[in-house]
């Protein structure tokens, strides 16, 4: 269990946040740039000393400003993945990975670095310099280096932001696998809610130095506490498997995990993430298959009804969590309340597909 609590000046405002990450789970700290998410990560690693703060990992106290205790970063055993990966340019890839292995003979260090590189499928790059690597390869080297010394926590600062859109999908899948396997608490910082939803078991949304809401991605999207969270959560993500297209030019049909199907004008095959914005989704009485142009109809049960300003967020179980954003007048017309069954409809053209 990793606990981080910090209060410190942060530009024009103050960071005042506390997070808790159980072993084997990943908390995604999500928020706009400058919100203080990286600062909290740096406090956890000991790279920044807050005015007030407390950091504990299991029974070890890494920082306690009240008691005047501060453990140096090198003694905290944090695996830290930097935003630009911070690979040492003057060392070969394997030397980067082996950097954290101390008190081990050179041959043994080389062997262990080789094992990690093999696990990430890049052992052929062992003798290359980082500058010759692609973005995706650098990200893997950075992960391998962070994991080499068997860290007690994993801290990731925007681990996917330096990658292009194509590489990001596969890197994200791989990273999710790593986070599942390590078994240590992981704290991940991102400005992208979709990324937070895919990689984090839970998501904490941070704005202007404060954690404004924490929960699973589904909870945040369905029942945001504020307009900020509602806007920030953006698109809802469903997962499924795309059926092979019969003819080029056909829409893609995705069999959703847990039942139901949806269509998209995007192309895709195999496992995909399907995203749609809550304001694109309309609700109709259960079983309705309206004559409108919308291609997607999913039967769902209302789970939550949350008023956010002049909008209403309706959390649905379809059975995957789905969120519709509608006006207050529409809520009354449909008699929306938890437990009511409705049909969610939206257009195939408003549905984005990302390969997983």
């Amino acid at each position: 269990m990793l606990r981080v609590e910090a209060r410190t000046a942060l530009g024009a405002f103050e960071l005042d946040a506390a997070v808790e990450v159980p072993a084997g789970s990943c908390l995604a700290l999500a928020g706009p740039s400058g919100a203080g998410k990286s600062t909290l990560l740096r406090v956890a690693a000991g790279l920044l000393a807050p005015r007030h703060g407390r950091v504990t990992c299991g029974d070890d106290v890494w920082l306690d400003t009240a008691a005047g205790r501060q453990v140096a970063p090198e003694l905290r055993a944090c695996g830290y993945v930097f935003q630009d990966y911070a690979l040492f340019g003057h060392m070969a890839v394997w030397q980067n990975v082996a950097y954290g292995l101390r008190g081990v003979a050179r041959a043994e260090r080389r062997r262990r670095a080789g094992e990690l590189l093999e696990r990430f499928g890049i052992e052929r790059l062992a003798d290359e310099r980082p500058r010759t690597l692609s973005g995706g390869e650098r990200q893997r080297v950075a992960l391998a280096r962070a994991l080499a010394a068997q860290p007690r926590v994993l801290l990731l600062d925007e681990p996917l932001s330096a990658l292009d859109a194509r590489t990001r999908a596969s890197a994200s899948r791989e990273l999710a696998g790593v986070l599942r396997d390590t078994g240590v608490p992981a704290l991940l910082v991102t400005h992208d809610f979709t990324e937070a939803a895919v990689l984090g078991d839970r998501v904490a949304v941070i704005d202007a130095g404060r954690i404004v809401q924490e929960g699973t991605a589904g909870e945040l999207a369905a029942a945001p506490h504020s307009a900020f969270v509602a806007d920030f959560t953006g698109a809802v993500v469903l997962t499924g498997v795309a059926r092979p297209q019969r003819r080029p030019g056909d829409v893609t049909i995705v069999d959703l995990d847990g039942g139901g199907a949806a269509t998209s004008t995007d192309r895709g095959s195999g496992p995909v993430a399907l995203s749609v914005h809550p304001w694109e989704i309309a609700l109709e009485p259960a079983g309705a298959r309206g004559e409108g142009s919308a291609q997607n109809h999913l039967d769902a049960e209302v789970v939550t009804v949350t008023h956010v300003g002049n909008r209403v967020r309706v959390g649905l179980a379809a059975p995957q969590p789905l969120v519709a954003e509608i006006t207050g007048a529409a809520v009354g017309g449909l008699h929306l309340a938890p437990g009511v069954r409705v049909t969610a409809t939206w257009k195939a053209t408003a549905t984005r597909l990302v390969s997983l």
């Binding site: 140096a72 090198e74 930097f82 040492f88 340019g89 950097y99 500058r131 280096r145 962070a146 010394a149």
Partner: protein, 266 residues
């Protein structure tokens, strides 16, 4: 006549004038000293002594500068503290100090009647008119060239590299040795070449603080000055050697400096 037509030619004329004036003396040294009398002059034991002394004293001075200057430059590059700008300015002061003033200052500080001269004498160290004094004078005038270069080189090292090193279990000292120095090496070497070049050419401070005694404190520039009236061929030969050494050091600095900047830009 179209307006502005004269400007580009004027720039070319200015550069041509500057280039001619700045290279003419160097060219003249090689024109005046034929290979024959160059080799002949290098047979003169006094000339060889002066070159050998220059090599020894500049090497020792540069070694001292690197050992003390590297951590000092790292501190200036990676930490901010009250009076940082003042400290940087004080360290750079010898760059603009007239060499004669440096010599007088060294006498006033470390000479027999100097403010710490007594303590140095009590410790059994003699500097004035001694080879050790030459090293002191060279170190004084050349150190800022290295410290400035090293500070800029450390400043250009990506902060996240240093932080990554810490999170990977390396303390500050190990981070300094394993990451900061190798990453800053090209810039540091460029600064070192400039410092060495300055030390090789040092004249005024050495003459005033250490004197000009053959084999003991007479470095190559001092030997040139001594032979000027009596043996102009020897003075030319020594000058030719110093031109070659200085040119090589400048070229090294340029090549390494260029590489350092290219690396930082990636």
């Amino acid at each position: 006549m179209t307006r502005g037509r004269w400007f580009a030619p004027a720039l070319v004329v200015a550069l041509a004038g500057a280039l001619t004036f700045l290279t003419l003396p160097v060219v003249a040294i090689f024109v005046r000293s034929s290979p024959g009398n160059l080799l002949g002059a290098l047979d003169d034991p006094g000339v060889l002594d002066a070159l050998w002394l220059s090599l020894r004293t500049t090497l020792v001075a540069v070694a001292i500068i690197v050992v003390v200057g590297t951590p000092a430059a790292y501190l200036l590059a990676t930490r901010t503290f009250r009076g940082h700008a003042v400290v940087v300015t004080l360290v750079e002061l010898p760059l603009v100090l007239p060499p004669a003033v440096a010599g007088v200052g060294l006498l006033a500080a470390l000479g027999p009647g100097g403010i710490v001269g007594g303590a140095i004498e009590d410790a059994g160290v003699r500097l004035v008119f001694e080879t050790a004094g030459v090293v002191v004078a060279l170190t004084f005038v050349a150190a800022p060239f290295f410290i400035r270069g090293a500070q800029a080189a450390f400043g250009a090292v990506d902060r996240s590299w240093l932080e990554a090193s810490r999170t990977l279990g390396a303390g500050e000292a190990r981070t300094f040795l394993r990451v900061a120095i190798p990453a800053a090496a090209p810039g540091m070497l460029a600064g070192l070449a400039l410092a060495w070049g300055r030390a090789v050419g040092e004249f005024g401070a050495t003459l005033i603080f250490a004197g000009s005694f053959r084999g003991r404190t007479q470095t190559a520039p001092l030997a040139i000055y001594e032979r000027l009236g009596t043996d102009f061929d020897a003075a030319l030969a020594l000058s030719a050697v110093l031109v070659a050494v200085s040119g090589a050091l400048l070229l090294t600095a340029k090549l390494l400096g260029g590489r350092g900047i290219a690396r930082a830009a990636r």
